[in-house]
């Protein structure tokens, strides 16, 4: 498979997963917001603050909205095309990647993404968000899940599939870990009801509410939440499960047996998986949840970079032998790749300046070949 195609497939699924996770987090926040409004809360935007922080978008938000008005934060997160991580931007990126590799995916996969994009980018999308935000978020989540199902039912289990799953699970591991970290962002000493509400929110955002209750009953504790969301071996949105999938996909791609490594990304994935396999909640607590998640995020980012270096960038180095170019579009791609990875840095508050990096890169202009109608008129 072409390296570039592998890259597009990987980012296509990362972006749709990214959109889904943001929609999940916003959906449960809207519910909280309604509860809050019922209790007479003054500023609805305070409910978006944890979302902005969990997705590392606070800095960007402040840049675009120095004096935020009510409603600005929810618009910024959903339909603001200036925000490269808003739901609409993610869907657009997913669709654009899909459009580029349409010959590699099934018609049904394309149609699903295309329809989602057409719907939410139209007037109907904005109206739906205003009138029934829950339905809007549900639409995003459903569509992502359907895309996953369609992919699974129509795509051959060859290299493309592996890259696609790689993107999805790497993104999911990243997002689930960020969700867990939301708790560390809220001030200590909240009243106990509020705390219960918040863990409930996070569990629901991960579709983990029912599995949690099933094994733990209604009593909510940090240890048990970590057990489920970070360390579960069978819950498909847990960090460990996702990293195991990443590891598996990498070995499918190389054909090398698991438990060993043949390249840098397999080494990093294997090490991360081993670390998750052989540690537990007590290790997290002794290190501190935030510090632990922070390390995890750094590992995930490094892994993403290594995948790029191994499968997308490497052949470019080969070409260095005989390809002197004044301007190499591949350089731009490399830049774009890094920009995409850097737009969600680890939750270290000082690294939020992605807007500078994310200004529109110089796109190659493709106006040269003949447009559809080459003929003259008469």
């Amino acid at each position: 498979m072409l390296s570039r195609v592998a890259d597009h497939l990987y980012w296509m699924s990362r972006y749709i997963e990214r959109a889904e996770n943001l929609a999940r987090l916003m959906q449960v926040s809207v519910e909280l917001l309604l509860d809050g409004a019922a209790l007479g809360a003054q500023n609805p935007d305070q409910y978006w603050a944890p979302v902005l922080s969990a997705t590392a978008m606070e800095g960007a938000f402040r840049l675009l909205y120095p004096n935020p008005q009510p409603g600005d934060s929810s618009f910024f997160l959903t339909l603001d095309t200036r925000n490269p991580d808003s739901i609409i931007s993610c869907v657009q990126e997913a669709r654009e990647n899909a459009r580029t590799v349409r010959d590699q995916i099934s018609d049904e996969m394309w149609t699903e993404l295309n329809e989602l994009y057409l719907q939410i980018s139209s007037q109907n999308g904005a109206a739906l968000l205003n009138n029934s935000p829950q339905v809007f978020f549900e639409r995003i989540i459903q569509s992502s899940l359907q895309f996953d199902g369609i992919t699974s039912a129509t795509l051959p289990r060859s290299e493309g599939w592996n890259f696609l799953q790689l993107g999805r699970f790497l993104e999911r591991a990243d997002k689930t870990s960020r969700f867990v970290d939301i708790k560390t962002q809220t001030p200590e000493g909240l009243d106990p009801t509020a705390e219960v509400l918040q863990w409930g929110t996070i569990l629901r955002a991960c579709s983990a509410h029912a599995p949690y209750r099933k094994s733990n009953g209604t009593e909510v504790s940090l240890e048990r939440v970590l057990d489920l969301l970070v360390f579960s071996t069978d819950f498909p949105r847990s960090v460990r499960f996702s990293v195991r999938m990443v590891d598996e996909m990498l070995h499918n791609i190389s054909g090398h047996p698991t438990g060993q490594y043949s390249n840098e990304c397999e080494k990093l994935a294997g090490a991360l998986l081993a670390q998750l396999n052989f540690s537990g909640t007590t290790d997290v607590l002794s290190k501190g949840v935030h510090a632990y998640i922070d390390e995890l995020q750094v590992s995930l980012n490094n892994l993403g970079q290594a995948i790029f270096e191994t499968y997308v960038k490497l052949p470019q180095q080969v070409s260095g032998i005989s390809r002197p170019l004044v301007f190499d579009p591949f350089e731009f791609h490399l830049q774009k790749q890094q920009q995409q990875q850097q737009q969600q840095p680890p939750i270290t508050p000082t690294r939020l300046g992605f807007l500078e990096h994310h200004s529109t890169p110089p796109r190659a202009s493709h106006v040269h070949s003949a447009p559809l109608s080459v003929a003259g008129g008469i």
């Binding site: 498979m1 072409l2 390296s3 570039r4 195609v5 592998a6 654009e96 459009r99 580029t100 349409r102 010959d103 590699q104 018609d107 394309w110 149609t111 295309n114 329809e115 057409l118 290299e159 791609i253 499968y311 997308v312 052949p315 470019q316 080969v318 070409s319 032998i321 005989s322 390809r323 002197p324 170019l325 004044v326 301007f327 190499d328 579009p329 591949f330 791609h333 796109r363 190659a364 202009s365 493709h366 106006v367 040269h368 070949s369 003949a370 447009p371 559809l372 109608s373 080459v374 003929a375 003259g376 008129g377 008469i378």
Partner: protein
């Protein structure tokens, strides 16, 4: 119902003869649209639109900052071509492409046709797309144009005229296939009884054409489609054809040249490429040879082509046959190389670089259509009878400044075809772009892209300027 208010005009009408009688080969179609209830038709039209939108059968409009994707407007009334009529068109196209390929071979070798004075040498040397550096370089099977999309129109008497030969990177064939798929899906009752020849084999035929010219005649030569990229207006088509043929669609940055061989970068390392179906212009192929600022091409590609390690379809330099001045000499080529009369006529052409013609053109600007010799897509054109005084003055100055770059033709009124406009049938001008493949044999796709000028009275069928398309039905008998 629909037909009752349909008006013919003083030009060839595809549906009705001059007495207002439906032509016999249109009866099935006419009856269907006559009988269909308005609501049902409306619903079919809507589902067609939705189908194209959902599938992303779109093109991008240039000059629009948003790079807006639009659905290529589709008209549900199919164009019908009876078998006997098609036989003539097909024979004419085969004759023409044969002559053009012989001409290109000659121009890039001995140039006999110039030496014998059939075509003035300055016509060729002045053509923007002539590549003198390729004189003496041979191409596999001596074929230069592998894929051609000739534009045809019909004169008042219904005879087909060649308007242009598109021998560089003609596009539109994906719409032929998608239009057909949509019609089958939305109007199965009509399609089922019409007896239409299939267009489905095109991708397979295109692939055999590409394999036929592969330098390594292995079981599976590696053919790829080279696209300018996803921002190109025809990207949908590139992606469609690659998928249908089961070959890779590559951008310039996916390819590299090592020791005169072309490779593509894959996740498993480099893989050699044998044939490139390129959808980018000569100028952008190789920044070390042609335009230095090209970001779409591959450094060293032209060298690999010269060494015969990789083959391009179409070959470099076919644009010289596409030139609107060269066009005027195609009937002479047919006579010179084949000793035949042209089966298909073409539009009389005045060449501004000839003193007599220039004088005539400048004196008759308001009656003529003036075209820039190397422009395409309906750009750089003056339609005299519709032009303002300022536009005419502007073209007068342009022609005076560079006569080699302009030609003029009398206004030819295209045939008209019933087209659905606001629930009623109205006549709209149509042209036809059949697609021809030159591989081991020459194959003409039965049908082609019928483009329709959707604006009343408009003669511009280009998709970039408000044109739409129809499914084209060549009947089996």
């Amino acid at each position: 119902m629909l037909l009752n208010s349909y008006q013919t005009a003083d030009l060839f009408d595809e549906l009705m003869d001059p007495h207002g009688k439906v032509r016999p080969y249109y009866e099935t179609v006419a009856n269907f649209f006559q009988d269909i209830p308005a609501e049902e038709l409306d619903q079919k039209v809507k589902s067609l639109e939705l189908l194209f939108l959902k599938q992303g059968v779109t093109f991008t409009v240039y000059g629009d900052k948003q790079g807006t994707e639009r659905v290529f407007p589709f008209d549900p009334i199919p164009r019908v071509i009876p078998a006997q009529e098609w036989e003539v068109v097909e024979a004419g196209l085969v004759q023409r492409i044969t002559a053009l390929n012989l001409f290109l071979y000659d121009i890039y070798h001995e140039q006999k046709i110039l030496k014998d004075g059939v075509i003035p040498a300055e016509v060729i040397h002045g053509a923007a797309h002539f590549r003198p550096e390729f004189v003496g370089t041979s191409v596999p099977r001596d074929t230069y144009i592998h894929v051609c999309g000739t534009d045809l129109i019909r004169d008042r008497d219904g005879s087909y005229l060649v308007l242009e030969d598109n021998g560089r990177c003609p596009s539109g064939v994906s719409y032929v296939l998608e239009n057909r798929a949509a019609m089958k899906r939305v109007m199965p009752q009509l399609f089922g009884r019409a007896g239409v020849r299939s267009v489905d084999t095109y991708p397979a035929d295109l692939l055999s054409t590409l394999r036929f010219i592969a330098p390594r005649q292995t079981a599976h030569p590696n053919c790829v489609l080279l696209t300018p990229g996803v921002f190109n207006s025809a990207y949908f088509e590139h992606s469609f054809l690659a998928r249908e043929m089961g070959i890779e669609i590559v951008e310039g940055r996916d390819l590299l040249v090592l020791d005169g061989f072309v490779y593509m970068r894959t996740t498993r390392g480099l893989q050699q490429v044998d044939v490139i179906y390129r959808r980018i212009d000569d100028d952008f192929l190789d920044p070390t040879v042609f335009r230095k600022d090209s970001m779409l091409g591959v450094s060293g590609l032209v060298d690999a082509v010269r060494r015969g390690n990789v083959v391009l379809a179409n070959a470099i330099g076919t644009g010289v046959a596409d030139d609107k001045v060269t066009y005027a000499y195609v009937p002479d080529m047919i006579d010179y190389y084949l000793g035949q009369e042209p089966i298909l006529k073409q539009v009389p052409t005045y060449l501004a670089w000839r003193a007599d013609d220039k004088k005539y053109i400048l004196e008759h600007l308001p009656e003529l259509v003036v075209k820039a010799a190397n422009e395409s897509g309906g750009y750089g054109m003056l339609i005299g009878p519709r032009a303002s005084k300022e536009e005419i003055a502007e073209f007068r100055a342009k022609i005076e400044a560079s006569p080699r770059n302009y030609i003029a033709q009398p206004v030819v009124y295209f045939s008209q075809h019933p087209t659905l406009v606001d629930g009623a049938l109205e006549g709209r001008h149509v042209d036809l772009r059949p697609f021809i493949l030159c591989g081991e044999t020459i194959k003409v796709l039965p049908g082609g892209l019928t483009r329709v000028a959707l604006k009343r009275g408009s003669l511009v069928v280009n998709s970039s300027q408000g044109g739409g398309s129809k499914d084209t039905w060549v009947l089996a008998s």
